[in-house]
Symmetry: C2
Amino acid sequence: MSPRNKELNEEIKDVRREQIRSNALKLFASKGLAATKITDISTASNISQGLLYHYYKSKEEIFVELLRDAYDKMIAAVLALERLPLSPLEKVKLAIEKSLQGFDENKDTAYYYLLINQAAIFEAIPDEAKEIVKKRALLHEVFTRIVTAGQKDGTFKKYDAKDMSVVFWTSLNGLAIYNAIQGAKFKAPDANILMGMFIEEVPSTN
Amino acid sequence: MSPRNKELNEEIKDVRREQIRSNALKLFASKGLAATKITDISTASNISQGLLYHYYKSKEEIFVELLRDAYDKMIAAVLALERLPLSPLEKVKLAIEKSLQGFDENKDTAYYYLLINQAAIFEAIPDEAKEIVKKRALLHEVFTRIVTAGQKDGTFKKYDAKDMSVVFWTSLNGLAIYNAIQGAKFKAPDANILMGMFIEEVPSTN
DNA sequence: GTCTATATCCAGATAGAC
DNA sequence: GTCTATCTGGATATAGAC
């Protein structure tokens, strides 16, 4: 095979894998791992079901890869947030806004949330997936640190920092799920509603 | 068959059905409809898989029956709440407390939440289940009414009432999911954290 | 009412042709 | 790289004995 063709093949391979991943993400999120058939994925990707095995060796492999992506993106985003030169209050606000916004325009964000939830809730997932799910704790830790900082500087309410971080995360999660259910009808609620859990007075922007 | 025996059989039948339902609820909640095998249910119920078909004609039938229960219970609870002779503030507070408490001691509440979510998120569910899911709107309506009343009497913040009801529901939902994930480790967070979304000042109980 | 055995079907995965 | 054909396994559902 000429170098020219080899390059082309590599490109095709990358494109195909991306096709498959993106279609599988939607399917896994909206049907679940078990209910998603390998033919669902191949059909959505406009390839034969046999060809799919040329790119992935099983349905589970695709799932695990997507789940790893989901966590990597989520963790990277949260760590980046923590490092920003902003006050804890601004960080929380930004996190809420970004999340709500992301759901609105980029459906993949919501799909990733659903995937993470699915992996966390359901027991019938590959062992590798179970390992990845353990990273979940890290997300809570980062958020607890931000909350604690906000309490130290006096802006945040003084409830148990872990509780606050839990309620915060679970609320965003709940919204992501609602978003997925609503589909195009979803309209992001005012971020200040959630902010009320953290601070006493929401500064008026008028 | 003597009337005596007929009675006994009826009783056995009821007990069995209840066994099956309760085991299926746990399994559906923790594995999902598709991943739950009929043998999982029969094994958990200590009966042969053949016998299960004596009580239910399919896996889907059990799922639909449980989902209907879940919605009926949820709607009944919310409508009862609305009718209570309490202020909107007290109603919201009670709803939060009851939910958090229910999760803690009665796992079935959390399982029902998970079932409802699963049915709402996943497309691969029986048509009958899809019909039941439409009742979801009713829950939001009731809650929006309570929020609106709380705004009229001046106790609640003045964000869009629908937004507030959405955030409220989705937050409880998120907590239910977290609860399910945490299992025995779950410790209900302070209800006042969530109350912060509704009111400016949480009255101190000290 | 309950079990074991069996028939049927469908999905996952492989093999081989182009 | 891509497809069609095929093998294999597992899960649903039924049948028939006790």
